[in-house]
């Protein structure tokens, strides 16, 4: 009895966002988002600019008031709480460090608002400075720091109050690419060592894939798909996700055969059928899309057996990436199909790599395409 109660309590989501809507005049920025976050999760909201992810984050921080819906954090309804009353802190995009305060004063700012005794503030600030390895810079002003150092101060400031929820708005967006990759793992390590629950907003899929335990894909104010990075990459549930996460080739057409062990799609752009080795639940003749990742496409110089999941084309473009190349193969319909080919593919077969204008044959296995209905 007691155990059962405990069980259900621990299963209850730590943060629960229920049917949140935000309208600015006639435009709907966030359109009915429902999302549950578990304790200590690092969740990434991923989407292109203007998709509503930042508005959602600002509603969590309390800087925007939702038009409708409810936000519950650790059993407390915080929907109408002012930002300064929420146990939530945010790391702002481009950091918003107070320019007239030293690094230490920036970190202490939130603690001073809580009327914490001075001794405790000093101890906490020192702890935070150590956490982000910025102790040497305690007395510097923000303008005397590099971008990466500013990012670490911003992180320390947002963690200083030990918030129940940490919000990160494009946490590494202001850093250059090289530094960003290095900082991603550093940031995840810090967040995990502190054990804080995080929601980050980013438009960079690589950042989301590297850092987050789960990702939510947003577009036009709606949450399209939520899942682990692998789930989202391997099983996108819509065209937007398939194209947004990684690269893909999309073919559309009506379902012509739908049996428990196979589906066949008549893809006009391919000039043939796409055959998938599992059934779908939908009416025959329904318009669907098949997503085929470039790394699942095989390129051959010799003709392959004619049939489904294969086509003939010519090399229109080759992008060389060292260990692999991406071939842009122009099909008979004019559609360009991208295929990722490992560099040793040709050496092993003792073949000359195809070059611009060469005729090639593309094909893929029946278990590779993902069928998308929207």
């Amino acid at each position: 009895m007691v155990d059962a109660a405990k069980q259900s309590a621990s299963e209850k989501p730590y943060l629960s966002i229920a049917n949140i809507v935000k309208k600015f005049g006639d435009t709907t920025a966030v359109d009915g988002v429902t999302l549950d976050i578990q304790r200590k999760e690092i969740f990434a909201l991923l989407g292109s600019s203007g998709c509503g992810k930042s508005t959602l984050l600002r509603m969590l921080a309390g800087m925007e008031r939702p038009t409708a819906g409810q936000i519950i954090l650790d059993g407390q309804d915080i929907t109408k709480l002012a930002p300064y009353d929420r146990p939530i802190n945010m790391m702002f995009q481009s950091y918003a460090l107070f320019p007239h305060m030293s690094v230490a004063d920036n970190i202490a700012f939130g603690l001073k608002q809580d009327k914490m005794p001075k001794g405790e503030i000093d101890a906490r600030v020192a702890e935070m400075l150590d956490l982000v390895q910025m102790r040497k810079y305690a007395n510097r002003k923000p303008y005397q720091l590099s971008g990466g150092q500013q990012q670490r101060v911003a992180l320390a400031r947002s963690l200083a109050k030990r918030p129940k929820l940490l919000l990160l708005d494009e946490p590494l967006g202001a850093l250059d690419k090289k530094l960003r990759q290095q900082t991603q793992l550093e940031l995840v390590n810090t967040l995990e060592s502190v054990g804080v629950t995080c929601i980050m907003v980013t438009h960079d899929q690589e950042e989301a894939m590297t850092m987050a335990t789960r990702i939510g894909i947003m577009s036009e104010g709606q949450l399209l798909q939520v899942g682990t990075p692998a789930e989202i990459y391997d099983y996108p549930n819509c065209r937007f996700t398939a194209e947004f996460i990684g690269d893909t080739n999309l073919f559309t057409g009506p379902v012509v055969v739908d049996e428990p062990d196979r589906v066949e799609i008549e893809a006009a752009e391919l000039g043939g059928r796409i055959w998938i080795d599992h059934g779908i639940t939908g009416p025959k003749g329904m318009q669907v899309w098949a997503s085929i990742r470039p790394e699942d496409v095989r390129v051959d110089r010799d003709p392959v057996a004619a049939g489904p999941n294969a086509a003939k084309g010519s090399v229109a473009e080759i992008a060389y990436f060292g260990s692999y190349s991406v071939y842009h193969v122009k099909l008979g319909s004019g559609k360009v199909l991208k295929a990722m080919v490992p560099v040793n593919r040709w050496h092993e077969a003792n073949l000359e790599p195809p070059t611009w204008g060469d005729q090639v044959y593309v094909s893929w296995r029946a278990d590779m395409p993902v069928v998308l209905t929207r």
């Binding site: 921080a61 309390g62 800087m63 930002p83 300064y84 320019p99 809580d114 303008y143």
Partner: protein, 305 residues
């Protein structure tokens, strides 16, 4: 100093461009000041111009330089001048404080409105400049007079039985001083407040500071340079203000501008007037140097915004 290093690095062509304002300042500020300084060391004389020359070439090629320190000695010994300087500084200080208290909320409100309305509001702040300064002071005289618009109106509707003493006292002096100098406070304050990053206030709020706390810990310190610039723009000209104390001030209002006028036009004592002016300039150099140091720091990027 970095500014000098910057100057050296600039190409000669750029130096020529920059030298234009320097030349302007030299010609119209520094040279006249030295002329005034020269006159202050002369003696009053019944001649045209009405003062003695400092240098005389005597027989045998002897150049005689006469420096009369009597004027400065008189200013220092007669406490009338000390009182006047003090009273001028006090009036200017009080005017500055009132302009700040009134101007800050106005500048803040303008900086916070949406850009479309902002321009209209700024226009309203600057609108009085379209009319001559003197006319505006005369308009106030018409309003505040014993038989002025305000008293006539209040008498007519029966709120008062006899005219209020609104005119020729400290009330009218400060009212018109603040009215005249308020735009000089609002504009620099506005230009600082409008640049302020709104996300800093959001960050303060996020970290637990309520609106009032956020204002005093973030907005106010970050607008420090605006406050200093605005205060200097009001304080410095207010110290030497002559027209307003003369036209609307009380009979016992002591202002250095008035004393200067008296020495110059009533007593025809140019050297004394020049000495009074020189002391005033020296008194003002302190705040001006302070302002200059601040501006330089801002130029070097060490300012707070």
């Amino acid at each position: 100093m970095n500014i000098q290093r910057l100057f050296k690095r600039l190409k000669p062509g750029r130096g020529a461009v920059i030298s234009v304002p320097y030349f302007w300042l030299l010609l119209f500020f520094l040279v006249p000041f030295f002329i005034v300084l020269k006159i202050s060391f002369a003696e009053q004389d019944l001649a045209i111009p009405p003062f003695t020359s400092l240098m005389n070439l005597e027989e045998g090629g002897l150049l005689h330089l006469t420096l009369n320190l009597g004027n400065f000695d008189f200013i220092l010994s007669d406490d009338f001048y000390a009182k006047t300087y003090l009273s001028s500084l006090q009036t200017a200080l009080f005017t500055t404080l009132m302009c700040l208290l009134l101007g800050y909320p106005i500048a803040y409100a303008i900086a916070r409105t949406d850009p479309a309305r902002r321009n209209v509001l700024l226009m309203l702040v600057m609108l009085p400049f379209w009319t001559s300064f003197l006319l505006r002071v005369y308009a106030w005289m018409g309003l505040l007079n014993e038989n002025g618009l305000i008293n006539s109106f209040l008498l007519a509707i029966g709120v008062i039985n006899e005219p209020l003493m609104l005119f020729h006292n400290d009330f009218s002096l400060y009212l018109v001083m603040v009215y005249a100098y308020l735009p000089f406070m609002i504009l620099p304050l506005f230009s600082h407040l409008v640049k302020m990053d709104g996300r800093l206030l959001e960050a303060a709020s996020d970290l637990g500071a309520g609106p009032i706390k956020a204002f005093f810990t973030i907005t106010l310190p970050l607008s420090k340079n605006g406050i200093i610039a605005g205060s200097m723009m009001v304080f410095i000209p207010a110290v030497g203000e002559f027209v307003i104390p003369e036209l609307v001030g009380g009979p016992d209002t002591l202002m250095i501008g008035k004393v200067l006028w008296n020495e110059f036009f009533d007593n025809n004592n140019w050297p004394m007037a020049a000495a009074v002016a020189t002391v005033m300039v020296l008194l003002l150099i302190v705040p001006i140097a302070f302002l200059h140091r601040f501006e330089t720091r801002q130029l070097e990027g060490k300012g707070n915004d």
